[in-house]
Symmetry: none
DNA sequence: ACCGACGGGACCTCCCGTTGTT
DNA sequence: AACAACGGGAGGTCCCGTCGGT
């Protein structure tokens, strides 16, 4: 990787975390300068605007999260096992987070929904990808007879995601992982009932 | 109410909605001036800083939400009925919201958790109040034999709040109330199992 | 005049001279701050952008020039006398200029013609007004028999304005009023031939 | 011409036109990069600063104009013919200009007179050269008896240049060659009277 | 000879908050 | 109680110029 690409990647990585903690509107280019150690010229050489940087930084953050979860699925084949693995992987979001500041999709969705169409589109796409993953696991599970045929894949996706994201919010608000742990336990039980 | 108090109240009301949509960092005093029709002096006469206004505006928003839910409990006496009434009351958050921009507790919690201790405290207190309400309903329900004695009030609070807040986020992200509706149906069923 | 109007007028006056000397692109808001003694907040309170200030400053400059020439016509009734008075009034543009930096129409026309449509429009309107004045004087002169009926008012306007503006440029370039003086003498003679 | 010299020449040529249209202050190195297709390094390799480039670009532009006029003199021997040829050559400035943006001497003189001593010097030298040419033609014409001995060569130079430059400004301001055409016709007549 | 990355700073705009005035 | 004028500075963008690489 060329030096330029390295710098660009470093900016993305550090800006992603910054935006994830302070929000897009709450973090300034000066803040980005501080965390990257670069001056404005150095940053604007790689990204033509704060907006463009924010968009790419979100994509970077989402990709980080995706990798985190892709790993958790390895070796699990039963649909319910896979869903439980996904859910359990969220425990790491507070203990050993892929990036500080909580779930970037949640953060970005909440900040952008009424104010920032560009970011909102990215957050939607990311959420689509996540919902699609759950949907496919459930559907395959039904086809294979691993899950009850009455289960609605869309509903499962909505319930899992809602509960987990809400719990992340709660645990971050209180600085206490207990809320996330409770919902993870609960969701594991819920998933068992779908076998 | 004196004229001054009226003005103050109008500022709070309009600023609350503005902050709820654009976020604290994303909305400027100029924006507040625009929605209130007042000039700077008129606003700073009532609030000594943007921060102070934001704090009070959040309290105002939370109180609005509280009233919305307090109403839904009227006439319900069985614990499970009361919890279901609360849950169902959330449907109105998208159809006929007490204020635009979604749930202020969610929005404020997500924006403030890593960046704004003052707001974070307010959001925590608001959440405490909400959790306390659910907790009390469950506890009383157990005492009265309306709910299974094995039910953990803290867990119920965490699950209900997480799921609903996550669903609000989802529905706002997609501009589609379906996600919130799904979780409300689901939670009604979940609550039935606790009888 | 209110204090605000006074300040606004002072900004216009000083900015007009600044832009007339350094050009629109060559003068910064910092320069405007320096000559007015105001800070940015004070300037942007009266003008919403540098562009808006530049446009109004040009209008102000043109009005200054107009007053300068309107005065020179007083008491002259014969068409040729009036035209000569106009031409002679230009001598003052270097000795006792209404504002430093030469003729604002010339300066603005040259800077804006390929680059700044807004300013270009203003410069055109200003020039229209000047051409219209000469045109009317000539036309009335012909009607009254003060000037030869073969004279073309449009041509006279073009020739007078071209020659004077070109001479102002020359004299400013060399810092020497001789060029302007020569053309004024010459134009006085030229105008005599139209009697 | 070496490849380096070719590149240098290409930069000058394209920068000259750019500066002639947008002005020195109004055109940035980025603009120069765009029109030349080179990157910063490629430009600064040949010119040590924007200033140096601007100075040379002006010289280049002036030389272009000079060649344009030198050609018009070929085959004309009578002083008045030669002056008329010069004047008529200006018609091409709008129809088939040696470079876009009007007369570089006029543009540079107007922009630099109060603000840019370096450019102003160059513009003065260029103007000296033009005035000198007219002066010599007139003087020789008097010596040869082709022009009236009472004619003042300096005055003729001032009048011709002023009128033409002013007319270029007018025609560029309105985007209409009529003003330049009128003054050219007029100056041809004026020159006839000097025979 | 040319490119690309970057520093350091100027630019315009908008920000928050204060003050004097009505 | 509300406005209008202003200070002082932060924000995002773009600028000019340098320097290491190729």
């Amino acid at each position: 990787m060329s030096k330029a690409q390295e710098t660009r990647q470093r900016i993305l990585q550090q800006a992603a975390e910054l935006f994830n903690q302070q929000g897009y509107a709450g973090a300034s280019i000066s803040d980005v300068m501080e965390v990257t150690g670069l001056k404005k010229g150095g940053i604007y050489n790689h990204f033509k605007s704060k907006d463009a940087l924010a968009l790419e930084a979100f994509d970077y953050a989402f990709q980080l999260v995706q990798q985190h979860f892709a790993g958790s699925l390895r070796g699990k084949h039963h649909a319910v096992d896979r869903l439980q693995a996904l859910v359990n992987a969220y425990a790491g979001f507070l203990d050993a987070p892929p990036l500080l500041g909580g779930c970037p999709i949640l953060n970005t969705a909440v900040e952008s929904d009424d104010a920032h169409p560009g970011l909102r589109d990215r957050a939607q796409k990311a959420m689509d990808s996540w919902r699609g993953l759950i949907h496919r696991i459930v559907q395959k599970g039904i086809e294979r007879g691993e899950m009850l045929p009455t289960v609605n894949p869309d509903c499962v996706a909505t319930i899992l995601i809602s509960t987990i994201e809400g719990a992340i919010m709660l645990s971050k608000l209180y600085g206490d992982p207990i809320h996330l742990k409770r919902t993870i336990d609960y969701l594991n039980g819920y998933l068992e009932t779908l076998r």
